[in-house]
Amino acid sequence: MEHHHDDHDHHGHHHDNRYSDMQARVRALETVLSEKGLIDPAAIDAIVETYETKIGPRNGARVVAKAWSDPEFRAWLAADATAAIASLGFTGRQGEHMRAVFNTPETHNLVVCTLCSCYPWAVLGLPPVWYKAPAYRSRAVIDPRGVLAEFGLVLAEEKKIRIWDSTAELRYLVIPERPAGTEGMNEETLSTLVSRDAMIGTALAGAAT
């Protein structure tokens, strides 16, 4: 396993974590309401999950479908994901840089982060609730195979797993392998095979999540 820890350590003056006014205000309301016993954070997470699973991360799925169908776009995505993704009209509001990591028969990619602020929601849609849990991140780094197995994704022993740690400046998009038997499909149909979890690396394309 390789663990890529990108360049955030080189910016001593820079804070990785920032809350926008609205992020902080919502957290403030949560704090007040929890202290008063009016909300249970687990119940809120459950409601968020109910709604967010119904919102497909269609932007990222379109990027993946195009990468499968168009070799030129794929090469551009590999060389400069930020520009290639922006060419489709999807840009992060915080101006973050994107990097695409490509699954191959030899290598599987998994993106970890505990923090909303490191999650490219403009491309992937909303983050899953478990993604923010500290336990997920630390366990994914220590035992990625075990964590993936819990998601129902059992990889061959010889398959290498690369862990990518998103930062405030650089966020990752996993390009899953194109499923077999999809040769005749157009981009629109292909994009329906790409789940958010496949673009984080906790599922494969075409697999039910």
């Binding site: 006014d21 309401l33 008063k36 968020v48 109910t50 709604y51």
Partner: protein, 129 residues
């Protein structure tokens, strides 16, 4: 997850952005959290549908809203705050102080660690709740 929360009447809130399938669409994670809190508080009876609709209406019909409606969930959060203040659940000063505290906590938290309110340097020494 109870069925009544899934089909919360708050999904019918005036102006809520929706997908072609009719599901709410959230521009950012905090908007989904604010939506979920509101659904939860309404389900618990902290306020009624009519009270919510009136509070939201006041905010979305304020002048100087974004022409493209992109500030919809800012209105939503403002409506929720106003309703909670109205109900005596919270007050503006406390909410504003906590908001600043969360921002300091976020900046003080190293990458890879969960952002917790106790990380606010100005809270150091206080017992975390």
């Amino acid at each position: 997850m109870s069925a009544c929360e899934t089909a919360s009447p708050l999904s019918q809130s005036d102006g809520l952005p929706r997908s072609p399938e009719g599901e709410p669409v959230f521009p950012e994670p905090w908007a989904a959290e604010a939506f979920a809190m509101t659904v939860h508080l309404h389900a618990k009876g902290v306020f009624t549908w009519n009270e919510w609709a009136a509070a939201l209406s006041r905010e979305v019909h304020r002048p100087r809203r974004a022409a493209d409606g992109s500030d919809y969930f800012e209105c939503w959060v403002a409506a929720l705050c106003a309703l909670l203040v109205d109900k005596g659940v919270a007050d503006d000063v406390t909410i504003a102080a906590l908001q600043e505290s969360w921002q300091r906590a976020a900046e003080a938290t190293p990458h890879g660690h969960p952002i917790e309110l106790a990380n606010d340097p100005l809270r150091a020494g206080e017992p975390s709740s």
